[in-house]
Symmetry: C2
């Protein structure tokens, strides 16, 4: 009885030439939810390897692990694509406090922003001035800023429904705050964490000094939202409080790393390429489960499931696990460069880099007719509660592929919880829900299936 | 500068007679996300009061607390509607083990099902037989079952996309397993927890003995999914293992309790009633944050927000916090009985009892034209990613209102995580995401606004 049941189970899932698209997609979802691999792969990436900042041991181990796992899947080819990556290291834990009067201090939670320089060994202590925007620096002028630490404290917009809009609206403070404040003589920068929630986690993330001379670089750190509120409250009572912080992060020499690529050759149009991917590197504070371990394991599992179901792609489908999205985009840049140099015609690239949450749909970065085509597929996704097929952002790693022809697609999961974890210590495996992750895998695999079968035109 | 900003903020949010529906709904979402009360109310209900099983001190405190909070909101009327409720108590923590040979035991996680009788003081120890359905009892017959414990182990269907479908497909084992197994001479029942995840939490929930004579009642408990897998695995190796469990729950006499009701009188059609509600009671293991503290505070906040925005309802809108949904439905039954006896014309009742997760839409239990009307409102909800307006289930508490005229509506949040927490010890406040809860509040308030303004016909 038990054996009989197992046999019929496989029969149901194995596709035949007569299978309708609805049947295929049903099989994909069923396979993902009953026999998915993404969750156990992510468990290993997160709990056995951990954080994977470019150039770190974790990143190296993740390259080896995902290559080895893909080799077990019977893809036609699995290889590493070399790419030199920057290596920034955090060093010793950061330390910061607010000083209301000599000796009276309150410790606060900060972390260096990725790419920042260190403070002097003894730290920086100075008066601190709160601003809500880069523009406000100009209004204040050098007079008010010189010799001080600038505290950027514009919160993410709470009533933005798509939280990535709220992020876009606030992240200039993190990316360019130090560069701009340095021009007015600031000695350091403290940035409110990109987090919609009030909690104690500082959120790191990339920043840059642009074309500022290196002699003018100033250190930059993120402060937790709770402590940003505290600091702002204390400043409203007393403008003369001082802020101290110390960090000893540094930028080391570039090191060798890799994109990890797995491929199934197309049977009809082997020279048309479809990419599905995420980025293998992560920030160093958590274990990068949502950002972007989830996207990597979903991409791997999407292709594994299609293969397991016996689907033979017409076009060549590649899983690409990009290295160095977080602080350099070297992997995405290199992948596109190599693809161009080989004349590979990429027709579609799908990136999952918005967390492993319940899938809602896709956003397409294309000038072509593809969106209306995708919208015609919407009814196939309806049973799975997938409802967004809109023009929008594709993804950072696939961005360099943009050539006016390729359709870039961003996988869109529910975004409400993403910034609770993004770039922070709590982006860990326990924040992943297995079903939500697997539903994402299935949604991605289904789109890849349709694009492979029907093309993009 | 700061004051100016605050003033303009209120101007934006305050509605005028000229406000379009889109403006009103935008204000509702903005208010919920920037100035919502649901999260802090739920914090109190969950962390200061805790579990609220009918007849418990927690339930009594929750009645007092929510009445007091509603009284602060300036509704036209807040009152308690008396209702007698059953009082079932769990007693001492349950204990269970698998015995492979005399003295060799493995402890497993169980909890008594709500409404079950106790085991004898010394517990029950017997051989155990695994079945996958109620029907299988008949196939096996009294011969194979008499004197044994029956282990119901059919999992919820993993690839059901709507997890409530998976629940419906498995919950007969919990509700009727004991009643049916007793007919074949079983001495106890162990039921696999209604949980899609593998973990260590047993999930309680209601069960009943139907018209079985009390002398034939047998004790029933839920076992965690991990331990169900363990037990099944051990049984597949050795049919002769024994199972022991002990529980001393009991059904006491009915006690006095209350539905909590708040109301704003309609200006044009005061005799047409709109209800928005959830149930105030919960199971006793966690603190009932998702089931159904969330629905209660969302309902309260929905009406608070409409009032705060200066909206004057045409119809009478009531928040109803129902008592005793979990093990008796006495609150819902009493509310409907009183409404009928007073000739109150209820046109719409909305229940939130599926957890405080990201909102996806509504399901409507109605034979009328209302669904197509609601679907015409869909575009108003699109900016908030609300996309389900379908025929379906309303809710348990509002069910007794059904009279062929009233539209019953179920608020539908994302369902993927719900059964991780449902009726278990981990249904606690930390499993609530503030934004997701507040988005639900806003979605409910927006629907109430539209129904009030345009009616249901």
């Amino acid at each position: 009885m038990k054996y009989l049941l197992i046999a019929s189970f496989f029969i149901t899932l194995q596709l035949s030439a007569q299978s309708s698209d609805a049947d295929v997609i049903k099989s994909i979802y069923s396979k993902a939810l009953t026999d998915g691999k993404s969750y156990s792969w992510l468990d290993h990436l997160s709990n056995q390897i951990g954080s994977r900042l470019s150039g770190s041991l974790g990143a190296e181990q993740a390259v080896e692990y995902t290559k080895a796992e893909m080799e077990k899947l019977g893809f036609d080819k699995v290889w590493l694509q070399p790419v030199m990556v920057p290596k920034w290291v955090r060093g010793a834990p950061e330390f910061a406090y607010i000083e209301t009067s000599p000796g009276k201090t309150t410790t606060v939670n900060i972390c260096a922003l990725g790419g920042s320089i260190a403070t002097p060994n003894a730290g920086v202590k100075a008066n601190i001035i709160e601003v809500k925007s880069l523009k406000e620096l100009e209004t204040l002028g050098r007079d008010k800023i010189e010799g001080k630490i600038v505290f950027f404290n514009r919160p993410m917009q709470a009533d933005a429904i798509r939280t990535f809009d709220a992020y876009s609206g606030a992240v200039d403070q993190r990316g360019s705050g130090a560069k701009e404040a340095a021009k007015f003589g600031a000695v350091g920068v403290i940035v409110r964490s990109m987090n919609l929630r009030l909690d104690d986690f500082p959120h790191t993330g990339g920043m840059g000094y642009g074309d500022l001379p290196a002699s003018q670089y100033i250190p930059a750190a993120a402060i937790s939202t709770n402590d940003a509120e505290l600091l702002s409250g204390m400043l409203s009572l007393n403008k003369d409080i001082k802020f101290f912080f110390r960090q000893n992060c540094q930028q080391l020499k570039d090191v060798q790393s890799y994109n990890v690529i797995g491929e199934i050759k197309g049977s009809e149009f082997p020279n048309e390429y479809i990419v599905v991917g995420g980025h293998l590197d992560s920030w160093d504070l958590g274990d990068g489960s949502h950002d972007d371990g989830a996207g990597c394991v979903q991409s791997m599992d999407a292709l594994r499931i299609l293969k397991k179901l016996g689907y033979k792609p017409k076009r060549t489908i590649r899983v690409v696990l990009f290295m160095n999205e977080e602080n350099g985009l070297r992997g995405g840049t290199e992948y596109a460069k190599v693809a161009k140099s080989k004349g590979e015609k990429h027709i579609f690239a799908l990136e999952s880099d918005s967390g492993g949450f319940t899938p809602r749909g896709f956003s397409f970065d294309t000038e072509g007719e593809f969106i209306s085509k995708a919208q015609q597929w919407a009814s196939l996704f309806e049973p799975y509660l997938i409802h967004q097929f809109v023009k929008g952002y594709g993804g950072a790693d696939i961005g360099p592929l943009k050539d006016g022809n390729v359709v870039l697609a961003g996988f869109v999961p529910d975004s409400q919880r993403y910034f609770d974890y993004h770039h922070a210590k709590n982006d860990t495996f326990d924040a992943i829900n297995k079903r939500e992750l697997e539903l994402g895998t299935a949604t991605m695999a289904s789109m890849i299936y349709l694009v492979d079968k029907y093309g993009v035109n």
